[in-house]
Symmetry: C2
Subunit: 215 residues, 2 copies
């Protein structure tokens, strides 16, 4: 089954399973779909269906082998090799991301930070020194950056994305509160923290559980 198209909703849950498996790996070499479901905040039938897309069916009465399943999910997500991350915008959010413990433990290495503000250039952020934004075209190629994280103001987001794409970056995670456009061959995710709060607000006032997205 490996190689077939995996539904978006399943892809979105695979990293959550991976995180839950990492938490569970110290306590037992196997895990039931029920326990994995509980740790991931979904139901057991969903876990079994999602993992069947990886060709993983578990063993009746035993469940899944934790280490092997982590290997399978990591490989399918492409995080079995370390990916190189550049953060553009060394403000509060950029600094928070550069020092975020959850990246390194999950296969992402922040190799460069950039800012257009001369007052920020040269400052230590996480394990990097902030470089001038003007050096991006050379540095992105030199350091073979895989993923660009945009934490600039909205007004600079599109031009930053353009420079990242020209520098060979194949994935962009955009935190700036505006929509950016990239060529089709570039993977793009937008994370707008104001949007997240507004979605929450909807469910608060409607006081109904979300309708699960279909597959």
């Amino acid at each position: 089954m490996i190689g077939h198209r995996i539904p978006e909703a399943t892809v979105n849950r695979l990293p959550v399973y991976l995180r839950a498996l990492a938490e569970a790996s110290s306590s037992s070499p196997t895990i039931s779909s029920e326990l994995l479901a509980e740790k991931a905040g979904v139901n057991a039938a969903q876990v079994r269906k999602d993992l069947s897309h990886l060709g993983s069916y578990g063993t009746r009465g035993v469940g899944y082998e934790v280490g092997y399943l982590m290997h399978q999910i990591s490989r399918r997500l492409g995080v079995d090799n370390e990916l190189r991350v550049a953060i553009v915008g060394a403000g509060n959010l950029g600094q928070a991301l550069a020092t975020y413990g959850g990246f390194a433990s999950r296969g992402f290495q922040v190799v460069a930070t950039f800012d257009s503000d001369p007052g920020k250039v040269g400052h230590r952020v996480g394990t990097t020194s902030v470089r001038p934004a003007s050096t991006m075209p050379d540095v992105l190629l030199e350091l073979k950056v895989d993923i660009g994280v945009v934490t600039t103001p909205a007004s600079a987001a599109q031009s930053t994305a353009d420079v990242l794409v020209a520098g060979g970056v194949s994935c962009i995670l955009n935190f700036a509160p505006t929509t950016v456009v990239v060529p089709e061959y570039v993977a793009l995710r937008q994370v707008d923290l104001g949007v997240e709060l507004q979605i929450l607000s909807f469910y608060r006032q409607s006081e109904v559980a979300p309708v699960a997205a279909g597959e």
Copy 2:
């Protein structure tokens, strides 16, 4: 049609439309579904379908009235009145969120920040002074906090969520890289930044566009 159940995928796009409309509002009093779609990064048929869930159908040849549509979406999202936010965990990410410009402009006011580290208590973060985490039970009720944002380490996330729920908070946005459990009447969203990168990584290596989640 107002009051019927809106699909999760539509709810997730409404804040993006609202942001695009705010960007467009200075240039024209009306907007076509095509232009709104372009600004929101979706297609026009999707826009028309999503907005029909609000009972908004636009006018042929004219499009949608920007101001009225913003009012409709804001009301449906419950952000037409200001919501009060508390941030728990005044590390880098908590500080980034407390000073994030995109909140205030979209109906969210950060009214309190908390940390369990005495070294952080009393420090200015955004418009608040960091309070001791031990004061949460009283302060949450006193300030009538609507939304709690969890930016603690993973190990403190569940206990923090429990205190937020006991303090009457009806929405929780969890950034800690672990799954927390809350009662059904509490709206919960989990934003794990490592998960976002792993999802990106999947689309990078598979080099296919995401399969859109159905409705």
